[in-house]
Subunit: 192 residues, 2 copies
């Protein structure tokens, strides 16, 4: 037959290259040629695995979100309060990997407003994270909680994490990892 490469893995490889370029030079700097060069191929190869530039970017965002979600790693051994703290801590840009994901997320945030497909991807990732937190909150509540209260609390926590991450991206010097965790704990309140 032919050469037989693992198509899905090559797509992931190319998406990783795209993410790297985006983190370094922004979405604007991510042309097909720069992404191909980063991956060590040419634009012809890119065209072979993605019909469009849109598809490449959408796949890159999906992959980045999916990887962050996978990294969440369900810790069944933790009590709910600790599991919540672990989930939120894990969402912060504490290491290179986390910073890469956040840079990509923010980079896409502006593009999403112009491209409905990307907006849906982002939105669904948010909703999924929210329901994950709601589950942890209702499981671990000392007092029976209404669903509405849990939802409001989950949104508050997500907002907290996002806000810390955003400030950390703008002003990395004053937001080392330790400071981010401090700020998260300060906001966890009774959950701490």
């Amino acid at each position: 037959m032919s050469k037989m490469v693992d198509v899905e893995q090559r797509r992931l490889e190319l998406a990783a290259a795209a993410a790297a370029v985006i983190a370094r030079r922004g979405v604007a700097g991510a042309s097909l040629r720069t992404v191909a060069a980063e991956a060590g191929w040419t634009t012809g190869t890119l065209a072979h695995y993605f019909t469009d530039k849109r598809e490449l970017l959408a796949f890159t965002l999906e992959t980045s979100l999916e990887q962050r979600r996978a990294r969440r790693g369900e810790r069944q051994d933790l009590i709910p309060a600790d599991a919540i703290r672990a989930s939120l801590t894990n969402a912060l840009p504490l290491d290179d990997d986390g910073r890469l994901h956040w840079t990509v997320t923010v980079a896409f945030a502006s593009h999403a407003s112009a491209e409905p497909e990307l907006q849906l991807v982002q939105r669904d990732a948010y909703r999924e994270f929210r329901s994950h937190l709601v589950n942890l909150l209702t499981d671990g509540a000392p007092v029976p909680t209404t669903l509405d209260d849990a939802v409001v609390e989950a949104e508050r926590l997500i907002a907290l994490v996002d806000g810390i991450a955003l400030q950390a991206l703008f002003d990395p010097e004053t937001w080392p990892p330790g400071r981010q965790v401090e700020a998260l704990d300060a906001g966890l309140g009774a959950l701490r």
Copy 2:
């Protein structure tokens, strides 16, 4: 002499056009030609008022931040707790104007990582807002507070507002103005 236009006002006009284009099509869609067309001029005019595209974008961001800061409007008549709530509410994307500012801010967020000049602008705006909140917090504290505590609390509040704003941008349908204010109040805690 010559025609004598108000140079600073024309620059503001052009920056407003740039902001409008950015909000509609993202930073990537903001070329000199599209911005000029939005403002009703040609690229030659743009070149007359800005030496660079960089300068145009930096000025656009500065103007957007400055306008949001101006809108904060110091309300001397409010007690500190209410002044804090007013400042934070005002920072949310509750109306078209607020959404425009946020869209521009987020759009620049990714570009800032690649352009140091923009990063400084964003960072300083953050720091200024933070010290504004710290002042309100120390003024209105029922019990004497340390400066460190006030800083941590201010950062928590900014993170909360930013996070709500970000979610509202990604998922506008489930984040109408009323819901944003609810989420803010839920996070204000004892300050409410």
